[in-house]
């Protein structure tokens, strides 16, 4: 792999991207190829719908019967929403140590994939992430609503450009963070930086200076450009468009340079953990204890998973803290955390064993016990992260009523069990051979991950929203009654997974796939 940055290399990077994309596409066969095509068309269709349909809704700017108040309120929020896209893109790219890989590290060893090509690949894959897509659809929809149907196409151009620029900026920030992290004391520097940023955000929220700061965000120019475009004020529109194009190109080039710099530094954290020495513990007292220990080691000794879980536990809690969410709204948070946690590894739970899956399958243990251990570990990891989030969020939520407390607790248990059952079902049905030692790897291919995350987010958010009702109406008993059928349904699904897992052919397929 060439790691020295040069103009010749830089020129080759975009040219190398196409063969890599073809290589990646060639690995899709039969139904997977059709599935990918359908998913891409669906994403494209939904994006067009998100950017257009809100402009036709009642209340949108220029709509008949709508008041200007509704759309202008949305217009005022647009700069903050655009800034939110950047924030989410940065968090996503930094958490995945520089974004997703077009070709997995092990597969890429045989090819001269330069850091520049890798950078462009990561940029290309960044939108295949449900957080990115939801943000993009939200800002496109909000812009359409605030601008109305007249001149909408021209209005959406700067917004689309901003989405691209924010992604490129986030990618550059992610490479910079990875470059710092790979320094001898880089991990501590990054932790200190994160804490400092959190402290600054805390002070801004506590002193009520966050909103005035957001009002003065430079993204106000993107909103203005959207207005210029709809109103035919082309000079102002062109000025912003040209600036955004320039900023995007600069961000892509800076990101590429940083990607080369990162490639010259070893991933110290991962290498340290991978060759770490662990003190021997007493012999396990039972079969389940022995299995649990091995399954837990797979998660807690992985730097990327630990980092991802910490982020998932802390970030939604901090957002809730900053937003001062009330207890009934907190019912939605466990779903977000549980879905995020499952997407780190749970949707392909056996891949944590890697080639060891073949050895583990040779051990004489009832298959149900092995599945039970996997389910328990996933459950405890998700519950720990959820509890941390709720504790953080509760700091500003005031004293809960008993009904609110019961509803939040029930929501946490229900969505966690729901996510565990769904994740294990997917893990058994569609295993993938993935090396999760690499922070940039995902447990399934990007498009599959989009599908998984959309389905998990939808089901857990809707379930969480159901529990806000008993929380608001002070009906603790109803929250418990509501939880019972959900838990029973998840238990039934788990039992079906266990039955499938009992089939040696199914287990062999899973073990061979994740070991490949």
């Amino acid at each position: 792999m060439p790691t020295a940055a040069s103009w010749a290399e830089a020129r080759r990077a975009p040219a190398d991207l196409l063969p890599l994309l073809r290589f990646r596409a060639a690995t899709l066969r039969g139904r997977a190829r059709w599935g990918a095509a359908v998913a891409l068309v669906l994403i494209g269709g939904l994006s067009v719908a998100a950017a257009w349909i809100p402009a036709l809704l009642p209340g949108a700017a220029g709509s008949r019967g709508g008041t200007a108040v509704e759309s202008s309120e949305v217009l005022l929020l647009l700069p903050s929403a655009y800034l939110g896209v950047l924030a989410v893109a940065i968090i996503s790219a930094v958490a995945s140590a520089g974004g997703r890989e077009l070709v997995a590290r092990e597969e890429a060893v045989a090819f001269p994939v330069s850091p520049g090509t890798d950078h462009l690949g990561a940029l290309l894959l960044a939108p295949l992430n449900i957080a990115w897509l939801l943000q993009a659809w939200s800002v496109l929809g909000a812009t359409a609503y605030a601008i109305g149907p007249r001149g909408l196409l021209a209005a959406q151009v700067p917004v689309l450009l901003w989405l691209a620029v924010a992604t490129a900026l986030a990618q550059a920030v992610a490479w910079a963070a990875e470059w710092v992290r790979r320094h001898r004391h880089g991990a501590w520097v990054l932790r200190a930086l994160t804490l400092a940023l959190a402290a600054v955000a805390g002070v801004l929220v506590a002193t009520d200076r966050l909103v005035p700061l957001l009002d003065g965000a430079p993204t106000v120019h993107v909103a203005l450009a959207a207005l210029y475009g709809s109103g035919g004020a082309w000079v102002g529109w062109w000025r912003v468009v040209v600036f955004l194009v320039g900023l995007g190109v600069a961000a892509v080039l800076t990101g590429a340079a940083l990607a080369y710099a990162v490639a010259l530094r070893p991933a110290r954290d991962e290498l340290r953990v991978e060759s770490s020495v662990r003190a021997a513990r007493p012999n396990p007292a039972g079969d389940l204890v022995a299995l649990l220990r091995t399954d837990r080691a797979g998660i807690w000794r992985s730097v990327p998973l630990r980092r991802g879980l910490a982020l998932l536990a802390v970030l939604p809690g901090l957002v809730a803290l900053a937003g001062g969410l009330d207890w009934s709204t907190l019912c939605i948070l466990p779903g977000l955390v549980a879905s995020g946690g499952a997407l780190l590894f749970g949707v392909n739970a056996w891949c944590l064993d890697g080639r060891g899956a073949l050895w583990r399958e040779s051990l004489p243990v009832p298959p149900v016990l092995a599945l039970y251990s996997r389910a328990l570990v996933l459950l405890e990891v998700l519950l720990v992260a959820t509890c941390l989030t709720l504790v953080l969020a509760a700091l500003r939520a005031g004293l809960p009523t008993p009904a609110e407390l019961v509803a939040v607790g029930c929501a946490a248990v229900v969505v966690t069990v729901q996510v565990v059952a769904t994740s294990l079902r997917w893990s058994v049905r569609r295993p993938f051979g993935v090396d999760l030692r690499n922070a940039r790897a995902t447990p399934a291919p990007p498009l599959v991950m989009v599908g998984y995350s959309a389905r998990l987010a939808l089901s857990t958010t809707l379930t969480g929203m159901l529990f806000t009702v008993p929380a608001r109406y002070g009906a603790a008993g109803w929250a418990v009654l509501l939880a019972v059928p959900f838990v029973l349904l998840s238990a039934y699904r788990l039992a079906r997974v266990a039955r499938a897992w009992g089939d040696p052919v199914v287990r062999a397929r899973v073990a061979v796939t994740v070991a490949s």
Binding site: A290, R293, G298, G356, R360, P364, A515
Partner: protein, 151 residues
């Protein structure tokens, strides 16, 4: 013979195997002995993700033989293994044969195959093309016969 769980140590692999295979108390002594024979004593508590290919292969052979199985199936056990590891693997095979276990070794390395086994089955394109005694595969004569069968 399978791979290793990336984030567990060799000792943790052995603890899990001993527990699930119901090995009698005192298995630790045999485990330590095997680790030393395979030159893994110093890495017994190191996470296996950082192991070299050869170390991983040696540990896999160790795990396959640890519980004295009645059938020992080794797939390419000499792949990427250093001479000490090869010696330890051959010892494990000899021990298994001595106690009456059936040993099946799959390898491309003829010289090591004839050292490990009595009978050799030559496969070409997934089909058995010959079954010979290991003695017929020894030396230059054996090498010629082997090449001829693969040819």
């Amino acid at each position: 013979m399978g791979g290793l769980v990336p984030r567990a140590t060799p000792w943790e692999h052995l603890q899990l195997a001993a527990r699930l295979r119901r090995l009698p108390a005192g298995w630790e002594r045999r485990a330590r002995d095997l680790l030393e024979r395979f030159d893994l004593g110093g890495a017994a508590h190191r996470v296996t993700a950082g192991f070299s290919h050869g170390m991983g292969r040696r540990m896999s052979v160790l795990l396959a033989a640890f519980h004295d199985p009645a059938v020992l199936l080794l797939d390419e056990p000499f792949d990427g293994v250093d001479p000490l590891g090869v010696e330890a693997t051959l010892e494990v095979v000899a021990d298994a044969r001595a106690r009456g276990a059936a040993v099946l070794v799959s390898t491309h390395l003829r010289e090591l195959a004839v050292e490990a086994c009595d009978q050799a089955v030559v496969l070409r394109g997934g089909c058995a093309v010959a079954q010979l005694s290991a003695a017929q595969m020894v030396g230059e004569e054996g090498a010629r016969a082997y090449r001829g069968l693969l040819g």
